[in-house]
């Protein structure tokens, strides 16, 4: 069992900070409801993946050290993203392979770091949420969360507790949507082929809403769905779980509620 009222540092992630703060507030609400005290350290920017995956190890290390420092005083560090959480959890220690002292610090951070939804279920033992969403939804498993952190059943479990929500499984939910951070702008043609086959499967489910746990993937799929004229709404899973779906869906203007696809 977790200790009562653990102190959680929210790792907002750069995309949520810049593009969709409402996901951050949904994360805060969910964790507070689970009994956590949530704080948001100011000294955070990004987890460093753009540099890390571009081969820029020096900048990645500097950013990692900054994050390690900023999140020293928390019982847990939680990110509403499998990809950023996996960066802190699985990759930071690798950055300091040859420096045992720093590696130990990175490992210590790693042991306290979690992806939001799995944190709620696995650490805070949350088995259901207070929320309603009268929609047919489908769910995409973002790659890092799925394969590096084993996040698969947790979101499904919590979604099943949302009133009036029906989940239809997405065939190939485990196949990459083609986002891949800088990949999608470095290899736009390939990324487009990948996201096109993803959005085709999404449309075939007949769901009116697509959910996932990573904003990068969500923006990619939302952008493609909208470019091809689909009215499927796209949201971060935390918004639905926190019952905070009154903000417009991703890429939708205020007051411009898309006609529902189901």
């Amino acid at each position: 069992m977790p200790k009562p009222e653990p102190k959680v540092g929210l790792f907002v992630t750069c995309l949520v900070d810049l593009f969709r703060p409402s996901v951050g507030f949904a994360a805060v609400k969910l964790m507070e409801a689970a009994g956590c005290r949530v704080e948001v350290p100011e000294l955070q920017t990004c987890c460093g993946q753009p540099a890390y995956n571009s081969g820029d190890r020096a900048d990645t290390r500097a950013i990692a050290l900054q994050v390690i420092d900023a999140f020293q005083s928390f019982d847990y560090v939680v990110a509403p993203s499998g990809s950023c959480a996996a960066m802190l959890k699985s990759h930071y220690p690798e950055l300091f392979d040859k420096e045992p002292d720093l590696r130990a610090k990175a490992e210590e951070l790693s042991s306290r770091t979690f992806e939001l939804v799995s944190f709620l279920t696995d650490i805070m033992q949350v088995s259901g949420v207070e929320a309603a969403f009268p929609e047919k939804v489908t769910y995409h498993d973002s790659c890092s969360g799925l394969r590096e952190l084993g996040v698969r059943d947790q979101p499904r479990k919590l979604l099943s507790s949302v009133n009036e929500l029906s989940l239809v499984e997405l065939p190939d939910a485990d196949i990459c949507c083609g986002f891949g951070g800088t990949f999608c702008v470095k290899y736009p043609d390939i990324s487009n082929t990948m996201v096109s086959s993803k959005t085709e499967s999404i449309e075939n489910t007949g769901a009116g809403t697509l959910l996932a746990g990573d904003l990068g993937c969500l923006m990619n799929m939302a952008g493609k769905l909208q470019r091809s004229g689909s009215d499927i709404e796209v949201r971060h899973v935390a918004e639905v779980l926190a019952d905070m779906t009154d903000t417009p869906a991703i890429g939708v203007a205020d007051g411009d509620v898309q006609s529902r696809g189901n």
Binding site: E32, E42, P50, D59, C143, R147, G180, M194, Q226
Partner: protein, 477 residues
């Protein structure tokens, strides 16, 4: 083989526009994956066997010199000969020398990626020796004058209809009204053509899936049995193998065999697993008079002790490309050289240089599906990242990208400045996009907006909103 890896982007664009390739990929991406999954599920110890396979390969690589020498000793003891080939050139020369010494006119070949790597067919043909591929897939691409697009299914990009057309064009001596609509018709016709070639051949060349140090044996696995005829009918058998194929003993090979076919095609075992040890002995009813092994290095020994050593565990099962969404999008030829997919993205820069093949390790989303199915648990994404690090160090990363990354990293390392600038930028962007909720195009975001809309930001950053909330007393409990 002449590399076209440097034009990976163009290759990919052409492949994406090619309906034949797209149709073939749509088919293969469900076929292989489903079969592997079912095969793995039927074997409770599958995951444990993957660990065992990894450990065997690690042990073999850690003691590679020992096992290779032991292997050579054994081959020699059995009457065979080992030829060490540091480079592709050395391997080609050794093979041609043998062929010319025995006056070979026709050479039959079992499937071998090493043969592709050293561009053997071309070399033999230039010397006036006919090289005949006997694996059906290899035979098809030889007719089409194409390189393989997959390491275990070389003609996976070719449709049945295309094969029929090729056969009709090439086998003109057969009746024009014959039926070739079923796959079995095609297989039978290829067999019929190849039968005579087996008998004509002076030399048979095969690859090797394993070299056994303890016994001097080489092992191949096939589904057509073509390798057996290739190596037992001609008077000379040449095995071409790269150095990392050696394992200590037959027990080790059988452990790895248990994960090989399951990972590759979802079969429990390939239809034929063929062991050959030396030339024909006096008491043997058949077999070659001469037995040669060409051991190719071609850059592999320099991977030992480097961050790429683990790549040498690869047993060429093809699972990584079978599961790779990038491979599914662009097909194998886009990679531009012998080895496609994730394993090619790591191996190719090692063999032909990262200057030529730099795109390959970059064209990955790091989705990790390859690593999750690799039977010897090679951390493929991690090694692709190592290549990116080497490229970054050598300043091979494109300048525009590098300076963009530089500015971003400068800010990311200065949280206060970052907050101020992103706060301003996001407010402007949010205001611009407020009406539609998204952008159809945006300066500097062309790579994104060419194919998809860009969702507009909500207007303020989380950090701004959070600070406002704290100030207004709405703090967390």
């Amino acid at each position: 083989m002449q590399s076209r890896s440097h034009r990976f982007k163009e290759n990919a664009r052409e492949a994406i526009a090619d309906p034949h390739i797209q149709a073939a990929m749509a088919k293969m991406k469900v076929g292989f994956t489903g079969k592997r999954l079912a095969a793995a599920a039927r074997l409770p110890e599958f995951e444990a066997l993957r660990d065992a396979a990894r450990d065997i390969k690690n042990h073999s690589l850690a003691n590679l010199d020992f096992y290779l020498e032991r292997y050579e000793e054994k081959v020699t003891e059995c009457g065979g000969q080992v030829h060490w080939a540091p480079t592709a050139e050395d391997a080609r020369k050794a093979i041609l020398d043998i062929c010319q010494r025995v006056g070979a006119k026709t050479v039959t070949k079992g499937k071998s990626m090493i043969s592709e790597e050293i561009a053997l067919n071309e070399h033999l043909e230039n010397a006036g020796i006919a090289a005949v591929e006997t694996d059906l897939g290899e035979y098809i691409i030889q007719l089409r004058k194409e390189p393989p697009s997959h390491i275990i299914a070389p003609a996976v990009h070719v449709s049945k209809e295309q094969v029929e057309a090729d056969f009709r064009a090439q086998h003109q001596h057969l009746p024009a009204d014959r039926s070739l609509s079923e796959p079995t018709d095609l297989v039978n016709e290829a067999r019929q053509i190849l039968r005579q070639r087996y008998l004509d051949a002076d030399v048979g060349i095969t690859g090797a899936n394993f070299l056994i140090a303890e016994t001097g044996t080489s092992i191949i696995v096939t589904n057509e049995g073509n390798g057996d005829l290739t190596q037992s009918l001609p008077k000379v058998h040449i095995v071409i193998a790269s150095i990392e194929k050696v394992v200590p003993n037959l027990e080790d090979a059988s452990t790895i065999l248990r994960v090989l076919a399951r990972s590759a095609t979802g079969q429990e075992f390939s239809a034929y697993t063929t062991l050959s040890t030396g030339p024909r002995r006096a008491e043997d009813p058949d077999g070659p008079e001469e037995y040669h092994v060409i051991l190719l290095d071609n850059g592999r020994s320099s991977m030992l002790g480097s961050e790429f050593q683990e790549m040498l565990r690869c047993i060429r099962c093809g699972a990584c490309m079978n599961h790779c969404p990038v491979y599914h999008a662009v097909g194998g030829h886009s990679y531009g050289w012998v080895y496609p997919g994730p394993m090619g993205a790591v191996l190719t820069p090692n063999l032909i240089g990262v200057e030529e093949a730099g795109h390959l390790p970059n064209a990955s989303t790091f989705c990790g599906r390859c690593e999750s199915v690799c039977p010897v648990r090679i951390p493929l994404p991690k090694m692709m990242r190592h290549w990116r690090e080497r490229e970054f160090e050598k300043h091979l990363t494109p300048t525009s990208f590098r300076s963009g990354l530089g500015i971003w990293a400068f800010l990311a390392r200065r949280p206060a400045l970052y907050r101020r600038l992103t706060g301003l930028g996001i407010r402007a962007l949010g205001a611009l996009g407020r009406r539609r909720g998204r952008f159809r195009s945006l300066p500097l975001a062309g790579g994104w907006t060419k194919y998809r809309d860009l969702p507009a930001p909500q207007g303020k950053t989380f950090q701004q909103l959070w600070a406002e909330k704290q100030k207004n007393g709405g703090s967390s409990k």
